[in-house]
Symmetry: C2
């Protein structure tokens, strides 16, 4: 397995009253059995298309060809889409170094997930339209923000005579919908978004992997990493052998029996920051319904030691924390010897050594303060590890939904706000501004 | 005033049981009176140096000269520092457009707040050391991460023969400390960090304003915006006339009497995203002690409508939300007419119109769901407005600390983790790797 999953410091034996006693933990684990059985049945019957993605390879040929065309034609690629149409691709793209500066043959990816006009003005000033590709992603094909973004980008591309059919690719469900009609009108190729794979579960589909392939990443390794976690969970004869089941049991039992209201995901790697933001959507939208769920909080080490750790250690004891540790050894950036007695502890140490000492110090400190803290140790930060993490947390979330008794795949509450926004737009009236 | 502050939808009259009844609200407001008196006394006696910063002008001449030298000499400036040494500068820098691409005469600012070796390898590959300036900020002068970062950057600059004294400026307290000794050894100029202004309250000092000046921003306008809020609060004859006092009263009363455990800050502007991260440190470190405080959560509209809104609307009713609305009208990016009946609501509308409809729709939707929601309406997103917001939230936090009965200026709990990290570094032993 590409990671180790340690929950000892969520148990009363280790951290005292806020931790789970053996009976409560065992009972929660036992409640995951029907969820694991449901996952096995879905895998066999094809009832949850997400579970077939790790082993799929056929689609990658066509996606690779499209990605190659983007890589050959463009210096920059703007990716339009929000929520699940953005966060998965971002989580993977961070494994590429192209974002920091020009990288020959690999375009920079720009995930534009907001409708802030200022951001679009700025990116239009910064990029060269003739050298920019566009990927427009909306599962329903009707997301108002994404359609509006697309129309703004089309106008920008057309202002220099760029052919939309050459610059733009769209992703939407195969049904008749606004994005698909818009694409057809402009001769833009539209790829099919599987209607059975919800946006926040779509990272292993073309929604996450086409951007990853454009960024030059190994999509097969992502799926292999995911497959390893899925296979291990479905093969487990007891939930105590499945890390996602254990994670779900601990989270839900702490929420139900120990007044834990939030779950913090704090990786010690800049490259995992977008993954933590992806998790935040997954957990919030999947569980936050019927008054249930806990609040996901994304953090980053060591940065948030200087921002949030005071609260985590000494504020209300109402959170479970997950520290994702990475192996930062062997990193070639060494700190020079400082020849100052006060800095002697840094002598011969690298930035990676300091990162490692800090991640261990923080986890120990939280446990010593009686705060429930889980540790996930990654061997490396690469495509395979990312695939494993993504699958782990999708399974953990689905199992946690089962324990909370909510549907992990819908998000009914947000419809009200959309309708209110539509009414405001209607009220503005054509030509009023 | 540069903003309007609306808390009606935090009251029971508007949203029902989760809102504050008139008696509870009035009692909480009354409890802010001693805090306001303390602020007035500090202002007169100079007991809190932070309160003198909005009117200070003398320091800006020297800072402006240093900034001009950076602007004339460098294409990129790396800013080392973490927590309060990073988040304030970031909040202001976002008002500059230089981050998106080369802007003649204005360097790009890179805030490096982590010790992830991968991030340093990447930025060293991307930047040209002879054209890169370095600003090293540590109030104590002993932050292990910042010292390590500085040593790594010094080695990189020296590898191309760059003179550190020309490329580097440091900021630390005037006392004898590791950063200052390191700077002296290399002939690097070190500017004084006021020991009486804590890192998370330092944005209006040189810590926030030197980066802002390098980015070409108007530091006087930032301080003027802050002064307007401070003056109005200190002149208020009743707490109901002070927005920061009202905000503190609502937050603390909801926490103490309505089981509100989190406070969400959700601006509808990409440029306010770093400000929300700055707030997150301010609120967490100032209040999270003695088991008190609430958990700050930064969000961004419209993006988090597609990530967190489901939870905010239908999960546990345990949060207060603050929507920061901006006036996005008049933005020149218009969506072209789409000639699709399903898109008719977008006809003639701009991205800014959609943003505006969404921010209003979201606030209405939260209130309709009985969730406490405050609205802050900004006339514009510029230096003056940012100065006002920063001062508002510093005052609100200090007043909230008074109500919770905690010290807003310390962060004692994080020392334990630092000591544990030191011990791990010691254990690694010199030359072991």
């Amino acid at each position: 397995m590409t990671y180790r999953h340690l929950i000892e410091n969520c148990l009363a034996d280790a951290i005292g009253a806020k931790g789970l006693d053996p009976e409560t933990y065992a009972a929660a684990l036992a409640r995951t059995v029907p969820a694991l059985e449901q996952l096995r049945a879905w895998r066999v019957e094809g009832g949850l298309p997400l579970l077939a993605l790790p082993d799929a390879r056929d689609d990658l040929v066509a996606l690779g060809a499209i990605a190659d065309r983007f890589r050959a034609s463009f210096d920059d690629v703007i990716i339009l889409g929000t929520g699940g149409s953005s966060l998965g691709g971002r989580s993977l793209n961070t494994l590429s170094d192209a974002g920091w500066g020009p990288s020959p043959g690999t375009p920079r990816l720009h995930f534009m997930d907001n409708v802030d006009p200022h951001s679009f003005e700025a990116i239009f000033r910064a990029l060269e339209p003739t050298r920019t590709g566009l990927l427009v992603i909306s599962k329903s094909g009707g997301t108002a923000e994404t359609i509006s973004q697309a129309l703004a980008c089309f106008a920008w591309l057309q202002s220099v005579g760029a052919e939309l059919s050459r610059h733009v690719t769209a992703i939407a469900e195969a049904a008749d919908n606004p994005l698909r009609r818009l694409a057809t009108r402009h001769g833009i190729a539209t790829l099919d978004h599987d209607p059975g794979v919800g946006g926040r579960y779509a990272v292993l589909s073309l929604v996450g992997l086409l951007p990853a392939l454009i960024a030059g990443l190994d999509a097969v390794a992502v799926r292999e990493g995911a497959a390893a976690v899925l296979d291990a969970t479905l093969a487990a004869t007891d939930p105590s052998e499945s890390a996602p089941a254990i994670g779900a049991a601990v989270n839900v039992a702490l929420a139900e029996s120990r007044d834990v209201a939030g779950t913090v995901l704090m990786p010690y790697s800049d490259r995992l920051a977008p993954f933590a933001a992806w998790f935040r959507q997954l957990w919030a939208e999947s569980l936050g319904k019927d008054g249930k769920g806990t609040t996901p909080i994304n953090a980053i080490g060591t940065v948030d030691q200087h921002s949030q750790l005071q609260l985590y250690l000494a504020g209300p004891n109402d959170k479970m924390l997950t520290i994702v540790m990475t192996d930062a050894s062997g990193a070639p950036v060494d700190t020079a010897i400082a020849s100052d007695p006060a800095l002697e502890f840094l002598t011969g140490r690298s930035l990676g050594d300091l990162l490692d000492a800090c991640q261990r110090g923080t986890a120990d400190s939280l446990a010593a303060a009686g705060r429930p803290v889980r540790v996930i140790m990654l061997d490396s930060v690469d495509e395979r590890a990312m695939g494993a993490l993504l699958m782990h947390f999708m399974l953990e979330t689905i199992i946690a939904a089962h324990l909370f008794g909510v549907d992990p795949f819908d998000q009914p509450a947000v419809e009200d706000g959309k309708q209110r926004a539509h009414r405001y737009l209607d009220e503005m009236g054509a030509g009023q501004r």
